[in-house]
Subunit: 644 residues, 2 copies
């Protein structure tokens, strides 16, 4: 093909910028040279599909891709990273493809969740699920004629003598060139896939200091991603958002029904994976890294969310005999589910116990080291479902209660997740003066879980709420206002709030929250009765959930969310699902322990038990119908404080 030009002119629209490049250059590279910034997260690996541009005229050579659909291709869309310039061409950059400087860096909403999980990863032996070794393999000679692939294996085996190594096709195919060009000085990324150890990738030179992983918690209401430095074993950054599936139902049973009725399992999967990719994109941009450096993701979540995330049929979860498609998920390649990390990166999905006790609980149980405890412990995870585990290192029983997402800020008018500007502490002083503290000391935008718990306990303490959880109109008159015929309590007046209105809590909000706490307390009671122990035998209570960074244990008892035990026995442990996922990321042993916990936990089905409903109804008071159970909780102030 000698008659084709070597230098090709590329004209970019709408910028009207022109640049000459060598034939064979990618459009992405040409744009960069022309000073036009095209969005690309994967750096040209045809993974992220962000770099779509429109070919207006001229010859190109393109690799087939599944990231563009037929209509897009017919409209002229191409992936800038997958097309090479073959002559003079004209390219249009659509607005969505253009990368604006600081698009994400300045996001006021972004909340760093560095402290969201209060449990550290210390105590598990350091052995990340995916690790990098810098290897100087020595060049082959007549005396040392070992083939490239075997030379690499030999090099890795000097670091991990017992590994049963296996390289995938992509690694094998590119290996020789990488060895050759790097003079046999490479970094091998390896990851454990059950009995074999996979050579995930081989890169030229020493990249062993750049190895990132993701700890992920896919909640029914909230999705959290933590970026973890696997070399330094530290959290780099975190980000969270509400689950986009919420529009198809607040609880996952509704979503399963929706998916079945509308044949929408794929769509539901895309929503979750899309949420995660959004969070990953924010984390990548904010921390100046790229997809390539993220070699691994560990995902926790309840059983239904794990099913949706993987596109597994969740039908069995909602129908008797409540059988999931899978509790134990083999390691996969993250790209297989569409997760935007290193295209060869591994995806570890943590194991579930049953349809209603998922990987968030097995991960959490290991995060709090329940499997090491000698004494009787209670582990409570307050999420959209409230799961409760009772036991210690030798046995564990668990159950689930439909608590609903009220403590995650959903179904509460000014509820919000624990993000900047969320009220996380509330104190009601004399004359119903309400003092609040917000996350990041920002002007208040709403109230997160711990703030709601404080608020209810304080309203009860000062007599604004009665034991029946109804507003006591005689009290707090200055703050109680009627709107559209319904009473509401003003937490932050309009002039002090960041939302151009007063931040209030309504009677409906209070009822939602009380139902939530009642469901959990009833589950605790049932579990204690089922295994025939006494509440006072419980030496430790671990309370987990995305409440925020701070939670007042005393208030949790006052409200009757937790049993009335000495506060020193009760520990608020934050998001333990993400802590467990992070522990697994950093420690093969932690992963094994999570798998072991999933096998040893016995699931107790409370929903079928009519006594559970009785317990639930009794718990719909503050702290409880049976006040004897809460000797330390003082009756509230006010005219009807003693009312039952």
């Amino acid at each position: 093909m000698p008659d084709k030009p070597t230098l090709c002119r590329v004209h970019f629209l709408p910028d009207d910028r022109t640049i000459d490049v060598e034939r064979g250059e990618t459009i992405l590279a040409a744009a960069q040279k022309a000073g036009i910034y095209i969005s690309s997260l994967c750096g040209g690996d045809a993974i992220c599909g962000k770099c779509r541009v429109i070919l207006r005229s001229g010859p190109i050579q393109s690799k087939p891709t599944t990231l563009l659909d037929r209509d897009e291709i017919r409209e002229g869309y191409v992936l800038a990273c997958q097309c090479t310039v073959q002559g003079h061409i004209e390219i249009e950059i659509p607005p969505e493809t253009r990368l604006e400087e600081g698009q994400f860096l300045g996001d006021e909403d972004a909340q760093r969740f560095g402290m969201l999980s209060l449990i550290g990863g210390a105590g598990f032996p350091y052995a990340p699920l995916v690790r990098k070794y810098h290897l100087q393999l020595g060049t082959p000679s007549m005396r040392s004629p070992l083939a490239g692939h075997e030379r690499l294996k030999q090099g890795i085996l000097t670091r991990e003598p017992d590994a049963s190594l296996q390289a995938g096709y992509a690694v094998l195919r590119d290996l020789n060139q990488i060895l050759d060009q790097s003079h046999y000085d490479v970094t091998a990324t390896i990851g454990r896939r059950e009995a074999t150890t996979e050579v995930v990738q081989v890169e030229p030179g020493d990249t062993s200091r750049e190895n990132l992983g993701l700890a992920v918690d896919v909640g029914t209401t909230t999705v959290v991603v933590q970026l973890v430095d696997l070399v330094q074993a530290r959290i780099v950054d975190s980000e969270a958002k509400y689950n986009s599936q919420m529009k198809y139902g607040e609880d996952y049973i509704r979503r399963i029904m929706y998916a079945n009725e509308h044949n929408a399992l794929d769509a539901m999967q895309r929503l979750i994976v899309g949420d995660l990719n959004e969070l990953i994109e924010i984390l990548i941009r904010r921390n100046g890294t790229n997809l390539h450096s993220i070699t691994c993701a560990v995902v926790a979540g309840n059983t239904a969310m794990i099913h949706f995330f993987l596109g597994l049929d969740p039908t069995g979860i909602r129908k008797e005999p409540y059988v999931p498609a899978a509790n134990f998920i083999p390691p996969l390649r993250a790209a297989q589910v569409g997760l935007h990390i290193n295209p060869r990166g591994l995806l570890f999905t943590l194991p579930s116990v049953a349809a209603y006790v998922g990987a968030d609980i097995t991960a959490g149980a290991v995060a709090i080291r329940l499997d090491e405890q000698e004494e009787l412990c209670l582990f409570i995870d307050v999420g959209t479902n409230g799961e409760v585990v009772l036991g210690h290192k030798d046995w564990m029983v668990c159950c689930s209660a439909s608590a609903g997402p009220a403590f995650e800020g959903v179904g509460v008018e000014y509820g919000m997740r624990a993000a900047r500007g969320a009220i996380e502490r509330v104190h009601i002083g004399p004359d119903c003066r309400v003092e609040v503290e917000t996350i990041g000391n920002r002007p208040p935008r709403g109230i997160c879980g711990s703030g709601l718990l404080d608020l209810l306990a304080e309203m009860y303490r000062v007599g604004v709420l009665g034991r029946n959880a109804r507003f006591q109109e005689a009290c707090g008159a200055s703050r109680l206002v009627k709107k559209d015929g319904n009473w509401q309590f003003v937490v932050v007046p309009k002039e002090d709030s960041a939302v151009d209105d007063a931040i209030v809590i309504t009677q409906a909000d209070v009822s939602n929250l009380i139902r939530s706490k009642a469901a959990i307390y009833a589950a605790i009671s049932m579990l204690v009765k089922t295994v025939n122990v006494r509440t006072e035998d419980i030496r430790h209570i671990f309370l987990a959930g995305g409440f925020g960074n701070y939670l007042d244990i005393r208030n949790a008892i006052t409200l009757g969310l937790l049993p009335d035990l000495p506060p020193e026995r009760i520990h608020f442990v934050g998001n333990t699902a993400i802590a467990g996922a992070r522990a697994a990321l950093l420690s093969e042993e932690a992963l094994k322990r999570i798998e072991n916990v999933a096998r040893m936990m016995t699931y107790i089905d409370l929903m079928a038990n009519p006594k559970y409903m009785d317990e639930f109804v009794s718990a719909n008071f503050i702290p409880h119908t049976d006040i004897e159970r809460f000797p330390s909780v003082k009756p509230p102030r006010g005219p009807r404080g003693g009312d039952t």
Copy 2:
């Protein structure tokens, strides 16, 4: 979307046939209903890309595919199996997509190679690399609530208690639906991938009787595929063709240079994979099966061909220190290299020893059970490269000689591979009457390896060839004719041949063949000297190669291809590479033994040894310059029979 029609009209061109189908039906299914047969090997899995049709008008929904390039998509091409009808549409069937009845079944050229490999698979314990189990798993109940994936694993473990099972994403994703629809009556296909056992696929019902595998030998000159019934452990059918890479060089060194100079590694890979897919297609159609039933392929071949087949960089093979990219290849998914078998099917590539001793030799060595032999054995594989192995169960040394493809029929005017119509036996009677036998008793079309060997030995015996391998013009006058100034010997006169001309052998043909045999004999001599044994210590010689079904051992000695040992020590064993590949297909132990042989063989580099050239020159006579080495070979008849 209630306003879209439920029944859609599909109009097929150029047939001008119209059919109404339900919206959502695939175009492939619509064509079948209309009685139009569209080529599709994979049955709608978007693997084979055969079912391309052109959308002329109307709405469809299509899945993204990499089997169509950008230009094709813009011209309207779609894959009939991946597009659903969404309204009234018009479809054009291009001629290449139309399946003509009996297109392959009647192929006169097709030669069944059932007997091509003379070594059986008996003696290796039966344990196919990929096997199927029919499992009745029992439906879940409240008492038996095991999740689908774990239920399947439990079922497989009843058959293989020690397996470390792992299911891939595709299996996991579809499992629940298959379990549900089949009432938990399924067939699991499992395959060994090093330390783990993979669940390759799960099908509803009992398909355990349908499990096919491919034994493949990718030769420099000839590519052979054998279809093997893995359940009954028998050869179903075989097919062979010349390697399409031949146009880039008869030997692989030239092809490596070509690939490097033209950046054509991908293209070279596509050629080989294309050849294999052609052979697979013939085997599938001829035996009325489909891609789905072929769950496994085992591939042998020399090191260079294995590199080309897998798209591995072969550069190191031709340059000192002669280091391949890989000798040991992990099991891959066949679809990864583009091989058209079950999309989830596994590809096992047998291991090589060094750049010039490949998987064809390790496979062959195990096929002849060299690794069990107590006495000294010589294993000779006459292919484009002639490889020689000397040793027994405790040690093996091996080397390679550039024999060239003359005995495969290439570089010989009327040479051909062992297919129907090939002359495989030749006898020269009184008055130079030439008697021939052809494969399949067809009219002769050419001469295959064993026929050429016979022909030369007979020409030498009757004095037409002198010891210097030149035509003796005084002899065989009736058959020796001059054409364009060069002598040629008429083997079959025009009136008896199937090729509309006389079948002859030229002086140039003879020289090619003699160089070939000399290269191999010289290699044998060098190896014997290197390890300091005597030729007469060799208890067994195994001669392998694609000569045909029949080879006259006595003639091989007469020509000086083999050392002059008692004929009962010499065994013609046919294509041992394919026999070894088939043994591995059917026996995990055979695969392990081939891997073990690859580790224990010591490669001796003859090419760098100047003594090899001396040996080669001396061997360019019939039987050899040093006639003392061949006491049993009588001098030829004729005036200059005794000439040295």
